[in-house]
């Protein structure tokens, strides 16, 4: 753990001392975005697979937990695990079917799958409640010596829980990227043939990174469902996938700190601009354009100098 990481988490722990309930709520959704951005950063930033359907695995996590909770009364403390597994499996299956397409084609295929999964949730009325979604997901509770503590609709416990989950996701992604797996992903992102000739099983690694990314989205989804108490398909549309992707790109592809910074900026910015509602998307788009012009590798990204390599 670097100094920066420790500082980030220390400040985050202290924030509730000065923030009100509304601000904490916004920050909790920022932390969910941060988890998603870290997960997508594995796929897009580290392994270089342009994925446009990431929200689908967020949805799978949310629906899995919601169904388990509603029908069998699974609490969040156990329900998150199957949510993670099934989202990982879903991501793996999408990945497996798109194993041989790359670049723009992969983007289109994943976009298609993302929409298909959302539409399935939208149309399987008897199980998912269709467009109305699932209602009445129990809020998490904690056993404390003084008795049962119900998270209910308070802001503070969710904020801290999301912070803990983000810590877990951070550790997971950090360990993956600082290992032979992370290096292999970067290598195949930069040059698939050279990577294969160094012994990296490219297809297997592509599958693995999508499974890992899907797992992270599943965890975020389970938390989201537990916090909201309801899930509806429109929380997981294409715009969500694009939003998370923008966070990764803005922060700098391949940079974990960048992904979190991107989530903070793009998560908080729309809330701050809520007063100027009509101009929100305008400012959002404009800031992205300015960023791309001034710092194409993202705020904290490493620069790629492919042109220099290609020159020889």
């Amino acid at each position: 753990m670097t100094k920066g990481t420790v500082t980030f988490f220390a400040i985050s722990v202290a924030v509730p001392l000065v923030a009100n309930a509304y601000q904490l709520d916004v920050l909790t959704s920022v932390l969910i975005y941060a988890m998603l951005a870290l997960g997508l950063n594995l796929i897009v930033g580290l392994a270089g697979l342009l994925h446009l359907g990431y929200a689908a695995f967020f949805a799978i996590g949310a629906y899995t937990y919601a169904l388990l909770n509603i029908h069998w009364g699974w609490s969040f403390w156990v329900g998150w695990a199957p949510a993670v597994l099934i989202a990982a499996l879903g991501s793996g299956l999408v990945g497996a079917s798109a194993l041989r397409v790359r670049g723009d084609y992969l983007a289109i295929v994943t976009l298609g799958f993302g929409e298909i999964i959302r539409l399935i949730f939208n149309n399987l009325d008897q199980w998912t409640g269709g467009p109305n979604g699932l209602l009445g997901i129990a809020h998490p509770t904690l056993w404390l010596p003084q008795g049962m503590y119900d998270f209910s609709v308070k802001s503070l416990p969710y904020y801290y829980l999301s912070l803990v989950l983000l810590g877990g996701v951070w550790l997971f992604c950090h360990r993956l990227s600082h290992s032979r797996l992370g290096r292999a992903w970067m290598a195949m992102r930069d040059d698939e043939l050279a990577a294969a000739c160094m012994g990296i099983p490219v297809l297997k690694m592509k599958l693995l990174v999508q499974i890992c990314g899907g797992a992270v989205a599943g965890l975020a989804g389970a938390f989201f469902a537990a916090k909201q108490g309801t899930v509806t398909p429109d929380s997981f549309d294409f715009i969500q996938s694009v939003m998370v992707l923008s966070m990764v790109v803005l922060g700098g592809m391949g940079s974990m700190r960048g992904a979190i910074l991107g989530a903070m900026l793009l998560g908080v910015l729309p809330e701050m601009l809520r007063g100027a509602d009509q101009y929100r998307m305008l400012v959002f788009g404009l800031s992205m354009i300015v960023m791309m012009r001034l710092r194409p590798q993202g705020l904290l990204g490493r620069s790629h100098k492919e042109s220099q390599l290609a020159a020889h």
């Binding site: 930069d190 000739c197 790629h304 100098k305 390599l309």
Partner: protein
């Protein structure tokens, strides 16, 4: 050590390799020469699993293994690694990271070991890092280890590619025109690097145009032209071979 037996490869109407056979002995440097388009790089691609030859066999000894029909990543595991004619470095990675990627096959720890940071993980990471530093020192790149590989001058990029291939601890190293684009000083350094590699017991197959590099290094030279082996032998006899001279310089005109 490596026996190439009658391998052929065709691209549409072009017979890129036509019944090519030769043998690499343990500890040898084997030079492959020939005019442009003779099929040298295709030969490397067939040996490393990038292409599959339509006919023929490639056999590795000790233990005995058949390379035809195998994937590139399997062949590296069996001890053959390579460099590329057009340098193929990873544009987003540092010098040290390149060498560590080269050590991929030397660190077989799995997913759970990675996430849980098991003993296996720490031991193998330690080994591969130690090996990486030793290699950087051998290649004189240790002071550049944090640099982005694409920022290196051309000669050092070629050398880094060799280092990356060596990190896989190959028994056989395939070098595809390692001297192309180097200045005379860099060529001399390259000669020394290849000799050092040979001293470590690694056999080398070397594709090269530059005779001042191939001839002093090679124990055996194979000459390709239009996909066929037109001659093979030691460096001295090859330089006198009339067919080789003809392939490079053309035939003397009859009525001249």
């Amino acid at each position: 050590m490596l026996r190439i037996d009658q391998i052929s490869k065709r691209f549409g109407g072009v017979q890129a390799l036509d019944s090519v056979s030769f043998e690499l002995k343990q500890g040898q440097v084997l030079g492959v020469i020939g005019p442009n388009g003779a099929g040298k790089t295709t030969l490397f691609n067939c040996l490393t699993g990038v292409f599959q030859p339509e006919q023929g066999q490639v056999q590795l000894n000790n233990p005995k293994r058949d390379l035809v029909g195998r994937r590139a990543e399997t062949i590296v595991k069996w001890g053959i690694s390579r460099t590329f004619q057009n340098i193929r470095l990873f544009s987003g990675m540092s010098v040290l990271e390149h060498i560590l990627v080269g050590g991929y096959t030397q660190t077989p720890y799995g997913f759970l070991s990675t996430v849980l940071r098991s003993k296996n993980f720490h031991r193998q990471e330690y080994e591969v890092q130690t090996q990486a530093y030793a290699l950087l020192e051998l290649l004189g790149l240790e002071h550049l280890k944090q640099q982005s590989a694409v920022d290196l001058p051309f000669g050092l990029q070629r050398r880094l590619e060799i280092g990356r291939a060596l990190a896989a601890q190959p028994k056989i190293l395939l070098l595809d025109e390692p001297a192309a684009g180097l200045n005379p000083v860099e060529k001399q350094e390259l000669l020394q690097v290849i000799q050092a590699i040979q001293k470590r017991g690694v056999s080398v197959i070397l594709i090269e145009h530059d005779m001042q590099v191939v001839m002093p290094l090679s124990d055996w030279v194979v000459v390709l032209d239009h996909g066929r082996v037109i001659a093979q032998g030691d460096a001295v006899s090859i330089q006198k071979d009339p067919q080789v001279i003809e392939a490079y310089l053309g035939k003397a005109s009859e009525d001249a």
